[in-house]
Symmetry: C3
Amino acid sequence: MRIETRLQELGLVLPEPLKLPHGLRLPFHWVRVRGNRAYISGHGPLLPDGTTAGPFGKVGAEVTAEQAYVSARLTALSILSSLKRELGDLDHVTAWLRVFGMVNSAPGFTNQPNVINGFSDLIIDLYGPAAGQHARSAIGVAELPLGLPVEIEAEVEIKA
Amino acid sequence: MRIETRLQELGLVLPEPLKLPHGLRLPFHWVRVRGNRAYISGHGPLLPDGTTAGPFGKVGAEVTAEQAYVSARLTALSILSSLKRELGDLDHVTAWLRVFGMVNSAPGFTNQPNVINGFSDLIIDLYGPAAGQHARSAIGVAELPLGLPVEIEAEVEIKA
Amino acid sequence: MRIETRLQELGLVLPEPLKLPHGLRLPFHWVRVRGNRAYISGHGPLLPDGTTAGPFGKVGAEVTAEQAYVSARLTALSILSSLKRELGDLDHVTAWLRVFGMVNSAPGFTNQPNVINGFSDLIIDLYGPAAGQHARSAIGVAELPLGLPVEIEAEVEIKA
């Protein structure tokens, strides 16, 4: 329970599972576990009650880079919430491996890395530099589901 | 041959390999097998004869979400066709792990999940909820090769 | 040192690590090694001194497809440079597995595959068809960090 203790120290709350908006159907799993790997579906930022967290729209236009940094940090909490439900204990994640960060980008916005740092900073803070380190890409996509400003998928190593 | 029997029951046909359009050169493999993993290249929808299947263009403009659902379903058949050529038997896929769905999206189109459901629904129908389940992302990209409406890449576990 | 000998025969130089432009902070690792896998972060093209290599902007507008092919080839050298620093010897890569190629695409540019061939051609030339082969996707993204024309991430098998 080391990671959850650290979350409490930081005053951070894991959100409820996504409350599906009307008309959206998601037949896949948020986390797919196999052997010592967990594959994590693309997540977006959530409020504690499981509704999607704004602001919505394109970073560099409706959403500032600073707001999107917070969205990426909230996305980390969404993913941790899914991992906790799947694994029981967040300490079972033994190594973060790959993080793929997608930023809903307005034309000309090219600071995707500093946005996705909102995710990386929190994960490295929580898990430390050995387990928390990861390979990462940050790119600007044309559109995201529900107008989310950020969507992140990942792959982690877990206790088999 | 359980999966192929199920395909026949559904009246579904695996397409021929992609007939390369003039001027396109693809030096990579459609499926890369190593140990108990198969990495699946980005595939698009094909007609049974291996030519690319329309409609082409951006979902939300030239292509409707309903048409793109069918494109995603055809993309599943393209991938199954590549897997059959590489593995010999589709039953050798023991678990779907990761599905990355890219939708060629017109400005303002944000219903990528329901498009990629055309892929997920068929895979879960064919393989069942245990083997067929997968982690998934669905995003809107700016452009896709040949003006395809959908491109999907994946990773699966196979009998080593 | 077989791969480095081949690089020298081809007259190719591995660039210095990325010299971070002002205002950019990258808290992750370029290569994340775990067991027999190396996960490779999204890289862009570099000049030998580690500064980002132009031309910058969208392929199909400010950058031609032919120029972007060279950018993808330079991106392969950036990745090999990171792998050498992490693994010590490029021969320790025993199999290329997955390559994800992102092209900063102007509206209507759909020849992403021939751009990313600049990466695939060099890797297959260096490693040969058995180890160098890979699954691949090539897509058009809306924006990339720093206005890079190409960004590529990858996963490889290594000697554990």
